[in-house]
């Protein structure tokens, strides 16, 4: 059941992306100053961020989806 959920999400991603290929970025590169600020990163603390996930995993029954990737302006 859970595996079907993942496959479903992947298929939705495919459909969504193929159907939206004509979409143009609605936030222009020159509008991304705020997003480029380091305070807009979803994972600001590197090793320290990994460590606190480890602390929670050892003390809580839940696990996974801690995130960490992404954020920022996508300015590259």
């Amino acid at each position: 059941m859970k595996t079907h959920l993942i496959i479903g999400l992947l298929l939705l991603s495919l459909v969504g992306m193929s159907g939206c290929s004509g979409i143009k970025p609605w936030v222009k590169p020159y509008e991304r100053n705020n997003l480029a600020d380091p305070i807009m990163s979803l994972d600001r603390h590197g090793a320290a961020g990994s460590y606190i996930h480890h602390v929670y995993q050892a003390r809580e029954g839940a696990r996974g989806a801690e995130g960490g990737a992404g954020g920022g302006c996508g300015c590259n």
Partner: protein, 401 residues
Amino acid sequence: MVREVAVVVTNSSTYNMINKMPFFKAFFVLLITVNSMLMSAVAGTLPVDSVDILYHRYDGGGMEIDGPFILLRKSIGTQVSVNGHYYIDSVSAASIDVVANASEYTEERTEISAGVDFLHEKTMISTGYTNSEENDFEAKSAFLSIGQDFFGDLTKLTMGYARGWDEVGQIESDFSEDVDRQIYKLGVSQVLTKNALMGLDVETISDEGYLNNPYRSYRYFDPADENNFLTAREIYPETRTSTAVAVRGLYYLPYRASIKGEYRYFSDSWGIDAHTYEVLYVHPFGRQWTFEGRVRRYSQTSADFYSDIFSHEGANDFLARDKELSTYTGITYGGGVTYELGQGVIPHVNKLKLTLLVDYLKYEYDNFRDVTAGNGELAAGTEPFYEFDAWVTRASITFEY
């Protein structure tokens, strides 16, 4: 793992294959397909070269754990970046589990990892291997993930697969059992407006093997005297599958500060449901100082086979009294400060960052009782519910070069 990918890529009838192949193969078919569809998107960049040195300390609930965590990143050319980390937990344990079941102990866990990020045309492929060892436990894991920015860099999609192999032992005995683990991850981060972005993460983990903690036991009423209890080794199912879904939002406030909100739902095949909420506020002062504060709340329900005390020995097929499988709530209050120095202060270092983060954690259990309370004079099953608090300190220095 890589060979598996090569096999599925050569087959064009992707969708017909999905129902006929094991799930992990289907996962990679879709993963490769998605990335081939996105080849017109804009590339990501390699991680910044850096040295991250962290001292961590956990102090609470009878446990003291500290040590270093060192993370290195170095690019080789414009397409490859390698990384590695070295991590030590020095443990001094006298937690309630230890006091109730065994003697206090000290031990050390050492973890090392090596990884590579490979930027190929417009796709970032990351892979790595981690090995963790302590005197009665060894864990090995390997992962492969693919990430890509697209829609003018407003969207980032990441997919990953990992395998883990644990060897569970017990000191001063020949006891040895295995656990195999598979992990599937899907993550999307999306720029919503010029001041807001969000992230969605889904992760499914399946374990198979010996999932008990060999040192922990369940308790049951002593048939000779119901005021007392006896103990026996826990019996867990040999499989566990869990799914976690998390949504995060990050907003740039009208003044220079950000606020992050996060919610995670977790559910597993053992009957545990958990909810995690977190709010983080980040406030810079000038270019060098950044302050932050956060509140996190966690709650979960018990596993189906958990009980603080069973009616008799062997009352069910599966029996557990592990407090991490009970019903409880945890709250975290955290604060931190970061000081940054820019280019030119230290030769060859583009950025130097000093960070201090301190968190206060408190856990309160709804159906796990403190058997150490009352000097053993309380009737079995009437002891007060257990609770503990802990301080977590993280101090790090990061060089970007």
